[in-house]
Amino acid sequence: MSTDWRSHVPRLEGLARKLGLDWSEVIFEAVPDSFMTEIAVYGLPVRMPHWSFGARYIYQLLQRHMGYSRLFEVVFPGDPGHAYLAASNGLADNVLVTAHVLGHADFSKNNMLFRRCQDQGNAHIIEHAASHARQIERHIESYGFNAVEQVLDAALSLEQYVDLDQSLRRERYPEYAPTPTEPKDDPFRTRFATLDATPGAAPQARKVRAPLPPHPERDLLWFIATYAPEMESWERDIFLAVREESFYFYPVFATQIMNEGWASYWHARLLREADFIPEETYLDAIKCHSDVVRPVATGEQVALSINPYHLGFTLWEEIVKTSGLDDARRVMREDDDCSFLRNYLTREIAEEMGLFRYQRQQHGQIKVVAADIEELHENLLSGKYNFGAPRVSVTEVKNDGTLVLAHDSQLDGRGLDAERTGKVLEYIKRVWRRPVLLNTVDANAKAVVLSSEFLG
């Protein structure tokens, strides 16, 4: 671990400012590789405990052990932002990483999705997540490990079900339906009003309870925390803690290609223009850069997944080349991955990059199939909609408290995996404390109702 890289930070920052980057201060910290792995697995430096993170952690350790991947850095937006650098990075790695972090910091300060989530109070997500973790430790002391774990099982399995269009601190629905406004020019009404009033038949302004929910609700975490019939307040706290963290994760998820591409564009450009970096360091750093953005693994002809660094980097280079930096900055502020790819991944670039669509057939054979650019877009973006999760929303709470969910199989193109869904419904039932039903379709597109009850 070389500490020398810190001396380059102020000069890199100066250069970045001159080139128009605009970011909140970033605190750099070098941490052991094992801690880097944990940050990657938990998504946050300190986060609530859950066994599923343990399973991912071991998986990551194995991957790392086998040399499949290596983490250089993780950066958290905020004011100030925090960048964690792997202690095993060399000098050149860290010079590159510093420049890369400045790109991310610029992105997260200016991109609209990030801004909206930070305006909600997520500018201090590291501290908030740590305080959630501490709070949950306290709940464990008070209510026992198993009780807390059950709630976390449910909350974390619904992690993706938040509504980013709603505020982080969301109000309950109005309890009564809005009173229907009377139509004005109704001849019948006018005449009726002139009739003698019959005693006891005076029209009463009756309040009507609004149905729950008044419209299909996709913010499952909020809905359950707010309307579960017998949920303990600490259980609600856990649901809302998970929801708050999801608000933080969403922009990271929804702009991954843009964000990594932007950071890669800037680390390449800053390094190119930084005349203060010694030749040797520069060459090492550029070598590292080309490893990060390479599309296809060394020795391979093709890759079956797209390296987001490579894709984003290529697109940003192209945008800056054709439309200039100001336009690029506007795109960076306004787009997310969906609009970014649809607008800027053109037929020509796709051909130049050698993108192709494939179908996995029986016996694991993979066949390359023809595709136009729209099909490529849709394939690349298929995992990006709705936080990468099937569209499930609350449609009804029955009189006996049964929670009814509905899956939009039309939009998702097929039904839900019945076994897994049944397990998730069981998770939910433990906090909802009433039966939970879900409408979806089976493999033959026939409507089915899955229940937390049938599976016992």
Partner: protein, 395 residues
């Protein structure tokens, strides 16, 4: 930023971070949950027959990583994706592992379900789970010459063996003393408290258990293995539960022999089946060595039920004699397939049960039934009366 590394990165280990590894903590919890899950699938562990043969103290079971369930779309056969590289429509690429491709940060680790782990379970733990709430049926304390005595922890003293120092208690004493005099030293010899042992006497519970196995030619290797697996777990459980316990191992074909425990689990034979001979051997040993008046005697018999038909009367007589003396006689029928009618031996035990004798029976069709058989004979319900037994799951 991440990269697909070609080499391994140097590991800088930092003790502070290692100490608070949340990843390891949650990983341990994951494994604990797997253990709980496996425990619910006890039959699978119990049916592992290799434990008997090499006398291992642990069983190794392959398990999958636990999945934290989420809503997921039905998997369709034709998965699609976008790749990059030198390929044109119509090309067929060999089966490749997409996880090796670049850009796989694996941040979600979505596919770790594919990893299989080998978890080791202590045989002792398995016995714990299997024998939870189980005991010998109808066990009664018998007045006898011997009394059990055991050492129990009871009380504290200022002197004692170092190993029995009670630190919590000693600290309390220190706190009390310092509450009176704040200036006194943190610990003095006066504060130390040691746990004491006393001898507890209990009336003896003497018990003897007979394991009788049919090793005739009609019992295939598989049948014998099933029977022995059953006996293995019963013996292991009984040994732990009851200190003064004699187990007698008897095998029979048309003749009967007593074996040592080690030989019993290896015994194989050939020839016909004459149940009465085996039962007679049990009766002989019982009368010779154990007085049913002062000792709880049990018999467990495993056979495929194919007793010679002309042996019905003698076998019935022998069983009657034994059943009158023992606390309980259990019959485990190893039935490899569907049986059109009731077997000879099953009929024998059923008749005895109907006559009010404490006789039970259970059919074992395969390895998965063994845990059920153990449960059947040793849970409280099985003991309430000798003749209300149900026949276990037949195949």
């Amino acid at each position: 930023m991440s990269e697909d590394s070609t080499g391994t990165s140097p590991q800088t280990l930092n003790g502070w971070y290692e100490l608070f590894s949340r990843g390891s903590r949650d990983w341990l919890r994951h494994n604990e949950k797997i253990r709980e899950a496996v425990r619910e699938h006890l039959p699978r562990i119990v049916s592992g027959s290799d434990i008997i043969n090499d006398g291992a103290r642990t069983v190794r079971i392959p398990v999958r990583m636990l999945e934290h369930y989420r809503f997921r779309l039905l998997q369709t056969g034709d998965a699609q994706g976008v790749g990059q590289g030198k390929a044109k429509p119509g090309d067929v690429l060999g089966p490749a592992n997409p996880q090796n491709g670049p850009g796989q940060k694996g941040a979600g680790g979505k596919d770790q379900g594919g990893i299989e782990l080998m978890l080791e379970f202590k045989v002792d733990d398995v016995i714990d789970w299997l024998w939870e709430d189980m005991k010998l049926p109808n066990l009664q304390p018998r007045a006898g010459a011997t009394e059990d005595s055991e050492w129990k922890r009871e009380g504290w003293d200022r002197r004692g063996a170092r190993s029995r120092l009670d630190r919590r208690r000693s600290l309390k004493e220190s706190v009390k003393r310092r509450a009176l005099d704040a200036d006194s030293p943190a610990f003095t010899d006066e504060d130390l408290r040691y746990r004491q042992l006393t001898r507890r006497r209990q009336p003896a519970l003497r018990a003897a258990v007979f394991f009788l196995i049919d090793v005739s030619g009609s019992m295939s290797d598989r049948d014998r293995q099933l029977a022995k697996t059953f006996f293995f777990w019963v013996a292991a459980g009984l040994r732990r539960e009851y200190k003064a316990l004699d187990i007698v191992f008897v095998a029979h074909t048309t003749d009967a022999w007593e074996f040592s425990e080690a030989d019993f689990f290896k015994v194989a034979g050939s020839g016909g089946t004459v149940t009465s001979v085996g039962l007679a051997k049990v009766r002989e040993i019982m009368l010779e060595r154990f007085d049913p008046g002062s000792c709880n005697v049990y018999l467990f018999y495993a056979s495929d039920g194919d007793n010679a038909s002309d042996d019905r009367a003698p076998a019935s007589n022998e069983l009657e004699t034994i059943a009158k003396a023992v606390r309980y006689a259990g019959y485990v029928e190893i039935s490899a397939g569907v049986r059109s009618s009731q077997s000879e031996t099953m009929g024998l035990f059923e008749a005895a049960a109907e006559a009010g004798r404490p006789c039970g029976r259970f059919s074992v069709g395969g390895p998965d039934d063994i845990a059920g058989a153990v449960r059947h004979f040793f849970t409280a319900e099985a003991n309430t009366s000798g003749n209300a037994d149900v026949v276990g799951p037949s195949v």
